[in-house]
């Protein structure tokens, strides 16, 4: 199998006049916990649906666990634990316990004992009818369904959406334990990066259908810095830095600029351009991702 659990090639999708995905090349390394960040409507759910072959792309292909998902959708779905975006599980009249039994049949690897543990940890009763669950309870049930067959790939679309802070923590702690116990790759989409960032070892930023950044946590933290630079009046930033620039603001003769690149080179360039670097501050994963999300296109 390839080094990527998920790889897409030039994935594009339009709904009417709206661009949902624009030539997305997603690369999720085998065994990674990849967090796909983006605002609502940036294309996160569409991406995950394409990976599940629930939506057909207009162009481009997607490989999931080494399989072309467009051709082998059923096989892909059998090996993926999927938490869909904001929808209640099917079969509203079934009890939760009956639904688990029903789903178990489709997965040879279904771990009934584990499913029971997860139900207890999530405080879900087997005799409740699926249709009576609250949004947060339905989300938890989806997580049980996704985790209990210990799939080699988890696709979690906004898994913490609608969970209160305590339950969210429980859910993420269970996910951390799951990752420790089960060899798996996890792709999590979220518009709330701070909720899941501590689990991430890879990050992708999706903005209006385009993947504007994709890198490992280490690389992101090494290469994104917020610089404070003293500059002469009327200073114009050099073009080669503008390409690497994300967010810029200024007060008096000092500018604050988030830039991507090796710190030494960036400082050298800023200095050559007449600036005096006062500080190069590393960013938290959240701040770095936000910088990519709010990047100034014109520079």
């Amino acid at each position: 199998m390839s080094a990527y659990a998920v790889a897409t090639h030039g994935l594009s999708k339009r709904y009417g006049g709206e661009t949902a995905l624009d030539r997305v090349d997603l690369r999720v390394p085998d065994g990674a916990v990849y967090v796909l960040v983006g605002a609502n409507g940036a294309g996160k759910s569409t991406t995950l649906r394409v990976l599940m072959n629930l939506v057909r792309p207009d162009s481009g292909t997607a490989e999931v666990l080494g399989m072309d998902t467009g051709r082998r959708g059923a096989e892909v779905r059998a090996q993926v634990g999927y938490v869909p975006d904001g929808r209640n599980p099917a079969y509203p009249r079934m009890t939760c316990g009956r639904l688990l039994q029903h789903v178990a049949i489709f997965y040879p690897a279904w771990d009934a004992a584990y499913a029971g543990d997860l139900m207890r940890a999530f405080d879900l009763q087997a005799d409740r009818r699926v249709g009576t669950l609250s949004k947060g309870e339905a989300r938890r049930l989806h997580l049980v369904l996704a985790l209990a067959h210990r799939p080699p790939l988890l696709l979690l679309d906004e898994p913490t959406d609608g969970l209160d802070p305590v339950v969210r923590r429980t859910a993420l702690a269970l996910l951390a334990e799951h990752i420790a116990d089960t060899p798996t790759t996890v792709l999590i989409s979220t518009h709330q990066i701070h909720e899941v960032e501590s689990l991430a070892d890879h990050v992708g930023v999706l903005r209006a259908g385009r993947l504007t950044a994709q890198m490992s946590r280490d690389e992101l933290q090494r290469t994104v810095r917020r610089y404070r630079v003293e500059v002469p009046e009327g200073w114009k930033p050099p073009p080669e830095l503008r390409v690497a620039g994300l967010r810029r603001s200024s007060t008096g003769r000092e500018i604050q600029w988030t830039l991507v690149g090796e710190e030494r080179e960036v400082v050298e360039r800023l200095t050559l351009a007449g600036g005096r670097v006062r500080e190069a501050k590393p960013l938290t994963l959240e701040d770095a991702a936000v910088a990519f999300l709010t990047e100034e296109v014109t520079g």
Binding site: V33, R169, L172, A173, L174, A176, E177, I179, A180, D181, H194, S198, L199, A200, D201, R217, D218, Q221, R228, R278, E279, K281, P282, L283, T284, E286, D287
Partner: protein, 140 residues
Amino acid sequence: MLVNLDPHDARPLYLQIMDEVRRALVVGTLRPEDPLPSVRELASELVVNPRTVLQAYRELEREGVVYVRRGQGTFVAPDVHSGRQERLALGREVAKRALLEARRSGLGVEELLTFIREVAAEEEGEPSPAVSAANPGDEE
């Protein structure tokens, strides 16, 4: 062992975990031959990727702070005497942070040292009740 991660700390998470272990050694909540929490436990407690915990433990092992007993887990090395090495590493870490802050504000090293001594002397003169209540007998 109590481990706390600061979401506003931009340093890599495995370094923060390593520091917390060092801190536990320095203050004595962890002693030679004590077991560390399992990777699974700590990952769950901190809600971090288990690989991050593993990376922290591996680095600590490489530094000789902990060792792995196969099938039993990770333990504090027997020869970590009162965490002298850790005190050094921790002290340097604190100094680095203070320096960074000072530079941001345009202060030089000597100035910073002067201010630290001044403020420390003031605090000794009139100990704040919160601090002395939290650390009784902690005077070195």
